[in-house]
Symmetry: D2
Subunit: 264 residues, 4 copies
């Protein structure tokens, strides 16, 4: 082991043996979902019971949000010039930043600030939330995780919270964002918790480090971007001018999941 | 609808309603895994029974392969200079190309060629495989999906095939790659089917278009790259010289999945 | 020197001495232009007399083409989400591919094909051009370097060719593309040589390898992309919807260079 | 002009007319260098007399720094997997960040801070420099633009400063960094001004906004990265393990510029 030898704790490779965080990857296959393996890769441990289903729901919730997000436009613009799929995907991923996708990260920061107040001063969650909100409003700072350009009551948020209760995953993060929602209402603002806010609360309850918030959104969105890239390649002419909003959906009509589920 | 109006069949966005390929995304959440939602996003339909578990196993198999793949080195090199996570990830994704990650795509091409021969001429799979192999050997072309730098018997391959049998997913793709393996043996070469070859065979049996082969590898590897980027950020000094192979694994000792599984 | 020692012929670094292709970089500074140093870096030798001015003119010709090229749209889309400048630039560079920017590369291929015909068979340039054109028209292949979406007579082309004559740089490449232009006219098509065609002809006469054609366009366009990224950062709100064509120019009014030049 | 119409002040495109910041681009060609056109694109005006040569020298100084910078390693790693040139270049550009390439930006910040002190309080440059240095040393902050891993007396710095004097470009920026150098010496530290520090001082004297500091380094380095990408493509096998430092230079022997210059 010379001076340049460095260390990694993620994956161990030996002839005919690949171990992720200590587990044989061929033993993991068939036993855990991709979502669970993501948690294992990032956190070093398999997720506790219930968390697997929660992770799947969180990742599904953010897999795509249609044709208007700038990451989608950038990926389609790149592939429209003939970029290979990975380059178009990179252009999309490079367009996920402070103003697009970062709400999870920012909202985790808000919640962590509230929880510090709650844990250190002994005030109730409601009071911690109210104080933070007042402080942000004084400083004219936006509270990330609330409000949405399109949705007044985001159905993804409601579902994430009901699953979190059902699976026993909801903890201080979820409680605190609900306290913030109440503080908004008390201040006369009926601002909904958006999907990013819900995911932020859940990532806190899953003890995921905030540095990985953006990664969580990106991992969820990558397959959606791939779908857009492939659709652009197969449906459109190269070098078209891609209008950033003037499009229509012409996919399958609304359909009911109930019947399908029986067969899965 | 003016001249610039364009169409997309992936996601429909209405106030308080997000539909992926026709299904309400809040109904999908909690019912399907992230892997199933990837299939739905890309193929437009939910996967048939059995396929969900197969997809999870395929994605888990490729989530990471340690510190030496060039995509890992490129991502670590970028983040070591202070790149934000998405930029480092993009550098990694940009390093997945013809010589790294493309074996799935190339092997699908080989299998499709064999299957055309099989379906169009009526010869047996064994003969189709033997003819293709002879042709490739004459032209000194490499048959993608066979052999591995490190593994002589890739445990991921065996597991993918046993799961495919068990789940009823294995079809012509799997049969054909096994015929090719036999043809290699008959020609005196004991070349193992590698994990990329196994995934290629399965993607054919899942009727995934070959254009998405590389995407499949990338989607699987993104979380692994994120783990390496985060480890580099949290364990290493900026601007270190990253040796491309001289490293050691210092993560959890080998551990057994059996006990854990009971709790998941 | 162990087994991993590798070699580079570009730059030699010693304490207090940096040599590019053998020349001290501090001696090059003040003596050669950036354009000459680009030639030196890529070709390994300083350009012959006259070529410096030609290179500058070629790079200036392609520095920007307004707001509609997809590389500009992609870079602006990325920076509009809060991407750092280098990430937005990468998104732009990733959008320079087969259908945008590659005409130089493709036209060099056409010219090299014509010149092989000319040099190997002894036919005149006019006949070589006519044969290639007929062949392309039979195969319904487009001849890169001719025609333009906007310009019927590209002023950049005329200037590049007049400079090339004046500087003694024009050789077989320029002669051959003019023969092709004539062949088009003879076939009844008044298709102008576009700026990419002119640059392709000149790169052949500068003996630049075709593999670097795309690089030449990218190197020229990088500063233009930087100007657009900076303008987006300083003039626009984040996350705006960037229409791909509906914009107006509001920069300096048309102005005459003659007076300025005296002072430079 | 509808609600989505947006504005740009960079380039005006009309049929058969391309104007950069008001000047016909075909008139600029042959009259100004690429470096001057970069200044025009970014600043909106042609550079004053003397500045053209200064810009060329600054860009030449940073065109390449051998095989070890992480941007070079990332670009070579990507292309080694078969990435197209633009994708490998993007991987390189994505590796230019806070710890690599950002010294120009950081040093401009230091100099601007000193100059504010100088201009607002009326103290001498020497005192402003000494106060800032003391403050940074108290806070254990590094002063960017001083010191170098390899060079104790960077020949590029000396040349940039002598050219700046000769061309009449040197102003407060250059004077202030020299005051800082003196303050270091007085505090017992013989730290050389590095090339990034020299460029930072000159960008201040050219009134280039600090937001473009990183862009300046990137624009200069892009051709160097292209040279490395092309060398990797043409000299090396795919998928080699690229040692981050163990390489040797085997290009042209040291050679003298004097004889060449006569012919340029």
């Amino acid at each position: 082991m010379n001076e340049t030898t460095w260390k990694t704790a993620i994956t161990e490779i030996n002839p005919n043996e690949v171990r992720l965080r200590g587990y044989r990857i061929d033993e993991l296959m068939g036993e855990i979902t991709f979502a669970q393996s993501i948690f294992l890769a990032l956190k070093g441990e398999l997720p506790p019971a219930g968390v697997a289903k929660m992770l799947d729901a969180m990742l599904v919730s953010s897999i795509d949000h249609g044709a208007t997000p700038p990451s989608t436009i950038a990926a389609r613009t790149a592939v429209s010039t003939g970029a290979p799929l990975n380059a178009a995907l990179a252009a999309g991923v490079l367009s996920i930043n402070r103003y697009h996708g970062a709400a999870i990260h920012d909202c985790m920061g808000v919640l962590e600030e509230c929880l510090r107040l709650f844990n250190e001063t002994g005030v109730s969650m409601d009071i911690a939330a109210r104080e933070l909100l007042a402080d942000y409003q004084n400083k004219k700072k936006r509270v990330a995780g609330f409000g949405h350009r399109i949705h007044t009551s985001d159905p993804r948020t409601a579902k994430l919270f009901s699953l979190a209760e059902e699976l026993g995953v909801a903890d201080e993060g979820v409680a605190m964002i609900k306290a913030l929602r109440k503080a908004f209402l008390d201040s006369g603002k009926n601002l909904p918790i958006n999907v990013d806010g819900a995911i932020a609360a859940l990532l806190i309850d899953l003890q995921m480090p905030r540095e990985l918030a953006n990664a969580f959104f990106i991992m969820a969105r990558v397959p959606g971007l791939v779908a857009h890239i492939y659709e652009e390649q197969t449906r459109e002419s190269p070098m078209r001018r891609i209008h950033p909003s003037d499009h229509v959906y012409d996919g399958p009509d609304p359909r009911d999941l109930t019947q399908m589920i029986r067969q899965l």
